[in-house]
């Protein structure tokens, strides 16, 4: 299950999806909107996604994790649209026979999501808003 969704995330749905009789461990990660960032008072995060490609990239992360670790199943759902304080923007669940694999694959997944998946967060804070990762007000031009 690799999905971009406008609805609020249901962790239990992911856990049910990865539940497996051969699994002895399930590790989950949830990213939640924090009320502060770099000294700013955050009101909400607002996510935009290139959804079709993002789902493809999430599947690729799942396939990579399966190659690197002995895992049973993985599920990732990323939300788009506004995500209020304490609400979840991303949920990952991984099952494995043994816990070390589940922990490492789950950690890998969130690190990769932050690197390669075409999803962007705009931070709405008291006094303004900013697309994270993009210097505010600076013009854009292509890399190599």
């Amino acid at each position: 299950m690799f999905r971009v969704s406008r609805e609020s995330l249901n962790l239990q749905e992911l856990v049910d999806f990865v539940t497996d009789p051969e699994a002895g461990a399930i590790v989950t990660f949830i990213g939640t909107t924090r009320n502060n960032n770099e000294g700013r008072r955050v009101i909400a995060l607002d996510y935009d996604a290139y959804a079709e490609m993002a789902e493809k990239e999430l599947s690729r992360i799942g396939a990579q994790a399966e190659q690197r670790w002995k895992i049973r199943r993985m599920a990732i759902v990323h939300r788009v649209g506004p995500v209020q304080i304490t609400q979840s923007s991303v949920a990952i669940a991984v099952s494995a026979a043994h816990r070390a694999d589940a922990f490492e694959a789950c950690r890998f997944a969130i690190e990769e999501i932050k690197k390669t998946v075409p999803i962007w967060k705009k931070e709405v804070f008291e006094g303004g808003e900013v697309w994270i990762g993009t210097q505010s007000g600076q013009p854009l031009s292509p890399g190599k």
């Binding site: 999501i113 962007w120 967060k121 854009l140 031009s141």
Partner: protein, 81 residues
Amino acid sequence: MKVKVKFFAILRERVGKGEVVKEVDEGCTVKELWATLQKDHPKLAGAQTRLLYAVNQDYVSGDHVLKERDEVVFVPPVSGG
């Protein structure tokens, strides 16, 4: 030939819409397409911020040659999670 360009995040805001269809010459690369877009949308022009390129939902290099009906996305630094 025609290609479709989708804009997301800060690019969507600067262009003011999510999608344009562009007429480009045979042999046009994604990097060349970007240069054309900067002329159409002056707010896209300017200094250096890393952009990646995606064609039909796969990352490609800047000299990737476009084909009829390709879906092109210029990817500003991602920040999901």
